[in-house]
Amino acid sequence: MNHSELLEEMAQAVIDGDAEQAVALAEQALREGLPPLRAINEGFVKGIREVGDCFGRGEFFLPELVMGAEAMKAALEILEPELARRQEARQRLGLAVSGTVQGDIHDIGKTLVGVMLSANGFEVIDLGVNVPAATFVEQVRQRRPDLLLLSALITTTMLRQGEVIRALREAGLRDQVKVMVGGAPTTPAWARDIGADGYAENAGEAVVVARQLLGIIE
C-alpha cells in the first residue's frame, strides 16, 4: 500500500468508526515511515471532518460521531509518542477544560460537547463529574486553557456554574479563560446573569460558540 492509499484508509477508518482499524493503520504508518503529522492531518483528520460534515447534514447521528471520535482518539494515542519524540505538535484550535459541576453526576452532555470539540480540532481535557469549583480554578491556573466548559443538568446544581465563575474572579484568573456553560436547565439569559462568556444549546452549537469566543475564522 502506498502512502496515499494508507492515508485514505485512515480517513475511512474514522468514518467507519473502526478504532481497531485506526490503531492498526497508525502502527503501519510508524513502521513504514509515514510522518505522524502527515498521518494525522492528511489521514485521520480528514476522516473526522467528513464525520462532522455528515453529522451537520443530518446523515450521521451521534453514535457515528462518537465512534468516529473514538477511532481518531485511539489512533492519536499511537502517534503522539512519536510526535513528541520528533518534538512536533499537532495544530490545535485551542485547549478546553471541561467538567460537570459539583453535586451533579450527569456525564453525557459534557462528553458530547468534548467529542464535538475534539472532532473539530480542539484539545479537550475532561475532568469528569461532580467537580468542585476549586478544582476548576486549579486546572485553569495550571493548564492555562483557552476555554472552560461547565455542565449542569439540574436546576439546583446549575447555581454552581456561577460559583465557579466567582471563584475564578477571586483567584484573579477570570480574564485568562473564556467560560462556556451548558446543560438542560441553562439558558442564554442564565449565562449572562452569572457572567459566563458563552452558552450553547447543544454539542454542535458549542463548537460554533467556542470558535466565535476564540476569534477563529474558517
Partner: protein, 331 residues
C-alpha cells in the same frame, strides 16, 4: 431553601397530597417538622403520609449520594419514596427499548433494596422514566413513542412486583402549547394509562419536563379526563345494548326524546370536552382565540375562583418558624 419554600407554599395552597424532591439530608428534618405541624393531632406522618418524595437514580447504574441519603432519612419516617430511573436508550442504557426497560428495572430494584434494608416495609413507588435521546442533538426526548412502549413494559414489571407505578406519559418536548404538545401527551399518557399506570407524570410540563405551564396544565386536565374516559371502556351488556329501545323507536325518527338518552348521557356515557371546540369554523373564527389563550383564561379563572382553605394561624406561624430556623442553619 427552595425545596422547603415550595413545600410551605404548596401546603398553604392545597389540601391534596404533595410530592417533593429533596437533594440532601440536611433538608429532611425541616420537611418532617413542617409535616408534623400540618398534621397536628390528626395522626402521625407514618399513618397519614401527606407528602411523598421523588429520588432519581442516575443511569447507568448509579445512585446520587446526597439525594439518596436524604430519601433514606425520609423513608425511615414513613414518607413514601418514588424511585425514578430515567435511562436514555442508546445514551445511558442499551439502544434497544427492552435494554432500557431492563436498566430501568434493575436500577429501581437497587433503590428498592436500599430503602427496604434501611427501613423494612417502607412504602416505595415504582418509577417508569425510561426514554430516549435525540440522536441528532443529544437532547432528552420525553415525548417520543419509545417512552410509551418502554412505559408499558415498566408498568407491567411494577405490577408483577405488586407495586404502584408512576409512569412518564403526559410530558412533552414541545416548547409551547400546540399540535406537538397535544399529540405527545395523549399518545404516551394513554399508552401507559391503558397498561394500568397508577400515576401518570407530566401534567402541565413542556420542554421535556423542564417548564411548567398553567395553560398547558388546564389542557392536560382535559387529556386526563379523556384518558380516564377511554380507560373506563364501554359497557356492552343487555342494559347498554338497548335492543328494546331500538325496537321501540323503530324505523326513522330519533332517540333524543327518549328518557334513556337523557339519563345515560347524564351518567357520562359520552365524553364531554371542556377545552376543545366542536363549533363551526365561522363561529370559532369569530371568537378569535387560540387554544392557548382559551386555556390561559381558564387557568387565570381557576386561580381566581378556586377556594383554598387557609392554614390555621398557629400552623402557619409554626411553618414560618421552621423556615426561619432552616434559613439560619442551612447554607
Amino acid at each position: 431553601m427552595r425545596v422547603l419554600r415550595h413545600f410551605q407554599i404548596g401546603f398553604a395552597n392545597t389540601g391534596k397530597h404533595y410530592r417533593t424532591g429533596v437533594q440532601r439530608s440536611e433538608q429532611a428534618p425541616y420537611l418532617l417538622a413542617m409535616a408534623d405541624a400540618l398534621l397536628g393531632d390528626r395522626g402521625r406522618l407514618r399513618d397519614r403520609p401527606i407528602f411523598s418524595s421523588i429520588c432519581c437514580t442516575v443511569s447507568p447504574l448509579q445512585h446520587d449520594g446526597p439525594m439518596t441519603e436524604a430519601h433514606l432519612d425520609l423513608a425511615a419516617c414513613g414518607v413514601p419514596i418514588l424511585a425514578y430511573p430515567m435511562p436514555l436508550a442508546g445514551a445511558t442504557s442499551p439502544v434497544t427499548l427492552a435494554g432500557a426497560v431492563l436498566m430501568n428495572n434493575v436500577e429501581f430494584l437497587s433503590a428498592l433494596a436500599l430503602y427496604q434494608l434501611a427501613s423494612p416495609g417502607a412504602p416505595v413507588i415504582y418509577g417508569a422514566g425510561g426514554a430516549t435521546m435525540d440522536m441528532r442533538t443529544g437532547a432528552y426526548v420525553a415525548g417520543g413513542p419509545e417512552a410509551g412502549l418502554i412505559g408499558i413494559a415498566l408498568v407491567q414489571m411494577a405490577h408483577y412486583y405488586g407495586l404502584p407505578v408512576n409512569a412518564g406519559g403526559l410530558a412533552t418536548d414541545a416548547r409551547t402549547v400546540g399540535y406537538q404538545s397535544g399529540y405527545e401527551g395523549l399518545l404516551n399518557g394513554l399508552l401507559v394509562a391503558l397498561a394500568g399506570a397508577d400515576e401518570v407524570f407530566g401534567i402541565g410540563m413542556l420542554e421535556s419536563a423542564q417548564t411548567l405551564s398553567l395553560p398547558h396544565m388546564v389542557l392536560d386536565a382535559e387529556l386526563c379526563r379523556v384518558i380516564r374516559y377511554v380507560r373506563r371502556g364501554m359497557a356492552a351488556d343487555d342494559e347498554h345494548l338497548m335492543a328494546d329501545l331500538i325496537a321501540r323507536v323503530g324505523y326513522g325518527g330519533h332517540f333524543l326524546k327518549e328518557k334513556e338518552t337523557r339519563d345515560y348521557f347524564r351518567r357520562g356515557e359520552h365524553f364531554l370536552p371542556q377545552m376543545i371546540s366542536h363549533e363551526a369554523y365561522e363561529a370559532w373564527r369569530a371568537a378569535g382565540k387560540s387554544e392557548e389563550a382559551v386555556a390561559a383564561e381558564r387557568a387565570r379563572a381557576l386561580l381566581r375562583e378556586h377556594p383554598v382553605a387557609p392554614l390555621a394561624p398557629e400552623v402557619a406561624r409554626e411553618l414560618e418558624q421552621i423556615m426561619a430556623d432552616a434559613a439560619e442553619r442551612l447554607t
